[in-house]
Symmetry: C2
Subunit: 141 residues, 2 copies
């Protein structure tokens, strides 16, 4: 198995609501078919799909739990961009779980939950560089 | 906000167990610091970090739910590769929630849960091409 993530699928309970939420953040699907939205991101594709269909397709009994312990992070190049995106998320109805603040690793981050409770962190980490495509560059250990 | 995923952080309850599990799948961290493992994938970075620390850092009350409705997919170029990776996952203790089988969209996929219940789908989707880096190529709608 290679170290590759092809898609991150967020199970949603109200497709129209979720599409409107991500549209409000400026995301536009490359493909929108049979109530499934595919957003082309950096190498990885983010998908919105009905949670009950996803659970059935994955063979997972679903108890509708709010948070499963996964955080999806979107890193930016400045503290100001963190503030701006958190305000943008707040404006489209996100629950802000962490107001932007300095982090234990010397960065700056804010966090929000999307309409289904999927957790996003918006972060500026000066210790991790960003390449010309905006991808994080890990320091060597 | 750009369409970019910087990191996918999987909250884990036993760091050593999770590291061993992903090592068993052939994953090797570029950086392993303070019980945090960073795996460089295609543009995105996958992170293993203690679930309680992640929850606290994100400002999320955590009830230890098993599945939160996110699936991380790893796509490959053939049905045979799907079978091989599912067997590899089974061998290192994954719970197989969907044995490899044809999918409703004309592909072939199997699914497993990692030691914390994070859901992975291993899929071959002939409708989505793979570029030379192994990234999915979306058809235009």
């Amino acid at each position: 198995m290679k170290q590759r993530v092809s898609l991150v699928t967020l199970g949603v309970s109200d497709y129209a609501r979720s599409k409107a939420f991500y549209a409000g953040l400026g995301w536009s699907p490359a493909l929108d078919i049979e109530e499934t939205a595919f957003f082309q991101a950096n190498g990885v594709i983010v998908v919105l799909w009905a949670r009950d269909k996803l659970a059935q397709d994955m063979g997972i009994p679903d108890d509708g739990a709010r948070w499963g312990g996964i955080a999806v992070a979107h890193n930016v190049a400045s503290d100001q961009e963190v503030d701006e995106i958190i305000e943008q998320a707040r404006a489209v109805g996100a629950e802000i779980t962490r107001e932007p603040a300095t982090t234990f690793y010397g960065g700056y981050a804010g966090c929000f939950l999307d309409p289904d409770g999927h957790a996003w962190e918006i972060a500026h980490n000066p210790g991790f560089g960003l390449d010309s495509d905006g991808n994080l560059v890990l320091p060597t250990s």
